[in-house]
């Protein structure tokens, strides 16, 4: 039956996605870095002989996936596919060729079937330490940020490149975790390759070129059709962010004509003098993620779905920097791009786009011990911890949604998870004293913004420690949409009340704790349209106060916590007339 060929291609498509998911699960189970094994800071994909991504694991984080998809072309430029040998493995962490900072290492393994290279398996993982200053925004040049691995062999015909491993071991703080992660990344690609070959055998295929073309075309067409359904027009949006020391302006102009969508970041601030700069790969990755969330969330990620939107950013701007600008903490800017894109799309599709959220993750990079804290603090402190480096991945709230409240303390756009407090404390001399919702931080709206969280960190015995701060939205709040109020801005301070900077390495002195209050999401729709019963529920759960219920939502509660219907109607009509 001729018509069954279509069905067969769809079965193989489904099979490939499942095979790559098996690959991703393998790296999670074998990795050493907490970022990969507990947090899922990784991605995995399979590519055809031309280096186009055909399928991607469901598990993973968007910044990686889309950037990784672009970088494979660089590998096959350097190592032509017909010269690859079984047992070869390649890697790089070059920010401009791959995923935007040294911590994200990409490993690529060719798969062979009937003696021929039939596809490339790749994965990217965040390795906690790659030398240099370590993860943080303080460097002035990329050379300070760690060790660069140009695209090269990680293994040659099955033999690990000991020259490379030896070089890396002497350049990083935790050689065992780094090396263990490299092995995990090779193991997972091997698993992907085995599965790919068994799929080819079962379906009697020589390679995945034809079915890959089908997958890519279907995905591309689907995204294009969804864009065509949006009204043609030019939609502009801009946002201001904290920056390292000076505010940064991001500007976007989205042009939709037929099935073509272009985003131009012309007018965006110039590169920062510190390490919060974004390379073009990473800029494209999060821009495309933002677009696809709204136009084609059901379309599987592959070369077809990610190459539709045309992304432009002026060379030398903070979204498209050149060497030797520093890039380590690029996520604080890059992860704001989906909200920027949403602001454009909300004009084209007003009923499909959430309000702004916390955006970039709040990932404090901790360092302890004598070499980590300010010298005078170290000298005067009655106690010091052993040397340690650890990062936790944390987040604020997401924006209210067209028919749902925002999600409290939930990563978006990142796909990363946080490690358990008990796991962190078992491995490091950190004590986490508080980790709970930040009451009142969700922007009021018909659909309330998600709440951020409050975290308090100290060290064992009150020892001093330092953090590389890379936080944003500490003075510009996540905005509400369609009448929703803004979420709360973030706060960085010590428990003694000393304000800390939102960017850069700082010491928390002996006996003090670091307090992070993360932003809440903006509200969606007018707060006076929210069901009074839901407002009451929020008060009972202490997500908002009785006063906020009255002032922001116009919902008046009686002393026994019932909705005072009459007073509520009066209050709401006063608020509405004041607004008009």
């Amino acid at each position: 039956m001729q018509e069954l060929q279509l069905l067969r291609k769809q079965l193989i498509w489904s099979r490939l996605i499942s095979a790559i998911e098996e690959q991703a699960q393998t790296v999670i189970r074998t990795a050493f870095s907490q970022s990969v094994r507990e947090c899922g800071d990784l991605s995995a994909g399979v590519f055809n002989r031309r280096g186009d991504m055909v399928a991607q694991a469901v598990t993973g984080t968007p910044g990686h996936v889309n950037a990784m998809a672009i970088c494979i072309k660089h590998f096959i430029e350097k190592f032509p596919v017909d010269e690859m040998m079984p047992g070869d493995v390649y890697c790089t962490n070059d920010p401009w060729l791959s995923v935007g900072h040294y911590h994200d290492v990409t490993v690529v393994t060719p798969a062979f079937h009937k003696g021929r290279m039939v596809g490339l398996l790749a994965n990217t993982c965040h390795i906690v330490d790659m030398g240099g200053r370590g993860f943080g925004p303080d460097s002035r040049q990329v050379y300070e940020e760690g060790i660069n691995i140009p695209i090269m062999h990680l293994a040659r015909e099955g033999v690990v490149n000991e020259d490379l491993m030896g070089l890396l071991r002497t350049n990083v703080r935790n050689a065992r975790d780094m090396e263990g992660d490299f092995y995990a990344m090779m193991t997972c690609n091997d698993e992907g390759a085995r599965r790919l070959v068994s799929i080819l055998e079962e379906f009697g295929l020589d390679d995945i070129e034809e079915v890959g073309d089908y997958i890519i075309e279907q995905s591309r067409d689907s995204i294009r059709n969804a864009i065509r359904d949006l009204p043609d027009g030019v939609y502009e949006n801009e946002t201001e962010l904290d920056g390292f020391s000076d505010p940064i302006r991001l500007k976007a102009k989205m042009t939709i004509v037929g099935d073509a969508l272009t985003i131009d970041y012309d007018g965006t601030s110039e590169a920062s003098l510190f390490g919060i700069n974004v390379v073009m790969n990473f800029c494209i990755a999060y821009t495309v993620f933002g677009v696809n969330c709204i136009v084609g969330p059901e379309v599987p990620c592959n070369a077809g779905s990610i190459n539709v939107a045309n992304v432009k950013a002026p060379l030398g701007s903070i979204l498209n920097v050149e060497r030797p600008m520093p890039v380590s903490a690029r996520h604080v800017i890059g992860q704001m791009l989906p909200d920027l894109v949403f602001g454009c799309l909300a004009q084209a599709a007003p009923d499909r786009v959430p309000a702004e959220g916390a955006g970039a993750m709040w990932n404090p990079m901790f360092r302890g011990g004598k070499t980590a804290v300010d010298p005078e603090v170290a000298e005067n402190s009655p106690t010091l911890t052993r040397d340690f480096d650890v990062i936790t991945f944390n987040t604020g709230g997401t924006g209210g949604r067209p028919t749902l409240d925002g999600m409290s303390t939930t990563a978006f756009p990142s796909g990363v998870r946080t490690p358990p407090v008990e796991a962190i404390e078992a491995d490091y001399p950190l004590i986490i004293w508080r980790k709970e919702f930040r009451e009142g931080s969700g922007g009021a709206g018909e659909y309330r913004g998600g709440l951020g969280q409050v975290l308090e960190f100290g060290c064992e015995d009150g020892a001093p420690f330092s953090i590389a701060a890379m936080f944003d939205r500490t003075w510009q709040a996540p905005k509400g949409r369609h009448g929703g109020l803004d979420g709360a801005v973030g706060v960085v301070k010590t428990d003694a009340g000393t304000a800390l900077k939102s960017k850069g390495r700082q010491t928390v002195p002996y006996g003090q704790k670091l307090v992070l209050e993360m932003p809440g999401g903006g509200g969606y729709g007018s707060p006076t349209a929210r069901d009074p019963e839901l407002v009451r529920q929020d008060v009972l759960d202490q997500l908002i106060t009785v006063d906020a219920a009255a002032a922001e939502y116009g919902v008046v509660l009686t002393s026994d916590m019932r909705v005072d219907i009459g007073a509520t109607q009066a209050q709401r009509s006063t608020m509405k007339s004041a607004a008009e």
Partner: protein, 703 residues
């Protein structure tokens, strides 16, 4: 092997739709299948008991033991019908069960749902206290602070209380003190402590498990008490044992303390049923495949034992996706469950892809062919269109299926959008649902470093026999068993399960400086604890088996694999022996070991004490002669992807007709076994049907 020949034993499985009862006496099995009575599930049990007792001509007093499994706990969680539960936790950590991992189950969908916690924020209270990861007290527990919580706890209407403190898995001192305080002051509350319910690190999972236990405890407790009373009143003086999610049995007494361990006990019974089939037929490596109306469950079985796990998610709210449910850290039979069943709805997505499930038409409106108002095509409709189901003989002839409605639904929702013939569309639906199940099975296997090919497929549940040959093709499997009594598999499985209890505890030690004494002390204490639970339910003098497992990883890794410990106390060379065992196991799971860069460490220990499983010595009595249609029927064959004439053979005539080559349909009251053209069916002595592959499936070549 225990011989149950002299005993009269009864298994009762309460499922969402049906209550199944199986009685075994003097080598014969009697079964009954009744509709579940949701208002009072005991009603259907008593009715079913009455039926099998009278059929077997025994009196209630003759029954030696009743083994029971129920979805009560699962349903209480899914339908949010549990107790008013409050939680007392460490100051600063009020929202652990709601924050979870801060992750999302899906990347691109901005409208995802996260699971609502069982204990809402207004009933989560905090108290000043803190241990560190070594169990040292950083902040003492203040009794005055507990006292101060009482008015709020009272006002909240607390029926059950979960006490969840950080690092309580290392030292129970604060949780135990809080429990003693509340137990004295409020003796009618049922209290669950995290150190007791799930003594393992990772607070989100431990707290979630503890809250779930508290949430279901009053209801389960009341139900069990009432059930026992009614049994006694009706003259059933015997003991009742409860089926656990781990596949073992326990006493009612233990079940009332740890009701969270009853969750998913029905499907566990199915897996035990499959283990028993594997044992009877000496099948060393099997995979059980249980497909019903809404979901399919798949489990790997090695050496007659179902694979076990320590983590499970209940009540998934987003397309059965991982991380969209409430995590439970309890010993469970490791099954993958996906939204694929006879009622799964087929359609075409925005990319022109054929999709099946996880949405289900359920029993109302049901598949289009039921004629009850369903207009969307389901897997059952596809099977009808392919000729695999007889429209007249469905459900024992009690229901006539509407082929016109099926054809219309398939044409509109699948065939036309995809530009396919209705027949190809129907075949596509079955291919896609099988693909989904096969993929889930493979991902599941890979997570444990196992393969699915070379296994024997053991299939049961209403929809499984229709799809087994297609599944076998996708999984590279050559042999399929469809056991007798497949329709009441779980209840029969209950009767095969051993009395068993597993204790898992975090016990962190690096092999580099290994304290053998500490490990032996922990193992001994756990063994005593598990043994005490088992002895309550085991017959006097029953032989007990001990299984001890260390969950190990390389120092620096985050995920553990299980390593079976050698028998007897660990000796002085235990560290090097464990390292060797771990390296070997790691090699099996991941194909390489990295002992050269890192040494091993133990994260947790598990001790299982179990009686021997009950052997099956039964001949089945159920299933009267089925005189549905014979002859041949035109149907679509998945192996050749063409229409062929299928021989129609009633199951009960198989012994007399000898081996039947596919294509054939073996008809039963509840379902049909579809034998594709590359399989041959024969009936085995015990009534099980054995399908063997006679040829490879030849996929139609690219045209």
């Amino acid at each position: 092997m225990q011989i149950a020949e002299t005993q009269v034993r009864v298994g009762i499985d309460i499922g969402g739709t049906f209550t199944d009862v199986a009685l075994e006496s003097k080598g014969t099995r009697y079964t009954a299948k009744l509709l579940t009575t949701p208002d009072n599930p005991v009603d259907a049990c008593m009715e079913g008991l009455g039926r099998v007792v009278s059929e077997a001509k025994v009196s209630p007093g003759d029954i030696d033991v009743i083994v029971h499994g129920t979805t009560l706990a699962t349903n209480a969680v899914i339908e949010r019908k549990g107790a008013v539960t409050s939680m007392v936790t460490t100051e600063g950590f009020r929202d652990v069960i709601e924050i979870g991992t801060e992750g999302r189950p899906e990347q691109y969908d901005v409208n995802i749902l996260k699971p609502e916690p069982l204990v809402p924020r207004r009933r989560r209270f905090t108290v000043s206290e803190r241990l560190n990861s070594a169990g040292e007290v950083l902040k003492p527990l203040d009794e005055a602070a507990l006292e101060a919580l009482l008015p709020s706890l009272d006002e909240a209407g607390t029926e059950a209380l979960a006490i969840c403190f950080l690092h309580a898995y290392v030292d129970s001192v604060h949780e135990a003190a809080a429990r003693d305080f509340f137990a004295t002051r409020r003796p009618d509350w049922l209290i669950s402590c995290s150190f007791d319910i799930s003594p393992e690190f990772r607070e989100f999972e431990r707290f979630s498990t503890t809250c779930t236990n508290a949430y279901v405890q009053p209801q389960v407790s009341k139900y069990l008490a009432e059930f026992q009373e009614r049994l006694k009143a009706a003259g059933y003086g015997c003991e009742m044992l409860m089926m656990l999610s781990s596949g073992g049995l326990t006493t009612v007494q233990t079940a009332r303390v740890f009701p969270v361990r009853l969750i998913e006990s029905g499907p566990a019974g199915g897996a035990i049923f499959a283990c028993d089939v594997a044992r009877r037929l000496s099948i060393g490596q099997a995979i059980s495949f249980d497909m019903g109306g809404t979901t399919a469950k798949i489990c790997l079985i090695d050496d007659y034992k179902a694979q076990s796990s320590r983590r499970f998610e209940v009540a998934r709210v987003y397309r059965f996706r991982k991380d969209s449910g409430l995590p439970l850290r309890i010993p469970v039979i490791d099954m993958v469950e996906i939204g694929a069943g006879g009622g799964s709805i087929a359609g075409v997505d925005a990319l022109g892809r054929l999709t099946v499930g996880p949405e289900s038409a359920g029993s109302a409106p049901g598949p289009a062919c039921y004629g009850l108002g369903g207009s969307q095509p389901t897997v059952t409709d596809a099977n009808l269109a392919l000729g695999r189901i007889d429209p007249v003989g469905f459900a024992g002839g009690s229901m006539h299926l509407d082929t016109g409605a099926t054809d219309a639904a398939l044409a509109q929702s699948v065939a036309e959008p995809m530009g396919m013939s209705p027949l190809a569309a129907a075949y596509g639906v079955t291919e896609m649902v099988c693909e989904n199940m096969a993929s889930a099975a493979r991902v599941h296997a890979i997570e444990s470093g196992k393969n699915v090919d070379d296994r024997t497929l053991i299939a049961f549940g209403g929809a499984a026999p229709l799809h087994v040959c297609q599944m076998a093709d996708k999984l590279g499997i050559d042999r399929i068993i469809i056991p007798s009594n497949a329709g009441v598999g779980s209840a029969v499985g209950f009767l095969r399960a051993p009395v068993s209890y597993e204790v898992v505890q975090t016990h962190y030690q690096q092999l580099d400086h290994f304290d053998v004494g500490a490990a032996n002390a922990a193992l001994n204490q756990m063994e005593r604890q598990a043994e005490a639970h088992v002895k309550l339910g085991a017959e006097d003098g029953a032989k007990l088996t001990l299984r001890r497992v260390a969950y190990m990883r390389y120092h620096g890794q985050g995920h553990e694999i299980s390593v079976v410990l050698p028998e007897g106390p660990l000796g002085n060379d235990a560290a090097s022996e464990l390292q060797k065992l771990f390296d070997a196991e790691y090699n099996i799971v991941f194909g390489r070991n990295i002992g050269n860069i890192a040494s091993g460490e133990i994260v947790s220990l598990a001790v299982t004490v179990t009686t021997e499983p009950y052997d099956d010595v039964m001949a089945s009595s159920s299933g009267g002669v089925d005189s549905i249609a014979r002859g041949t029927r035109r149907a679509f064959d998945s192996a050749s992807e063409t229409e062929m004439d299928f021989t129609i053979v009633p199951r009960d005539t198989l012994p007399s007709v000898g081996p039947v080559a596919g294509p054939a349909v073996i008809t039963e009251k509840e379902t049909s076994i579809v034998v594709s053209s590359v399989f041959e069916a024969r009936v085995l002595e015990g009534g099980d049907i054995d399908l063997r592959r006679t040829a490879k499936r030849a996929l139609a070549k690219e045209a």
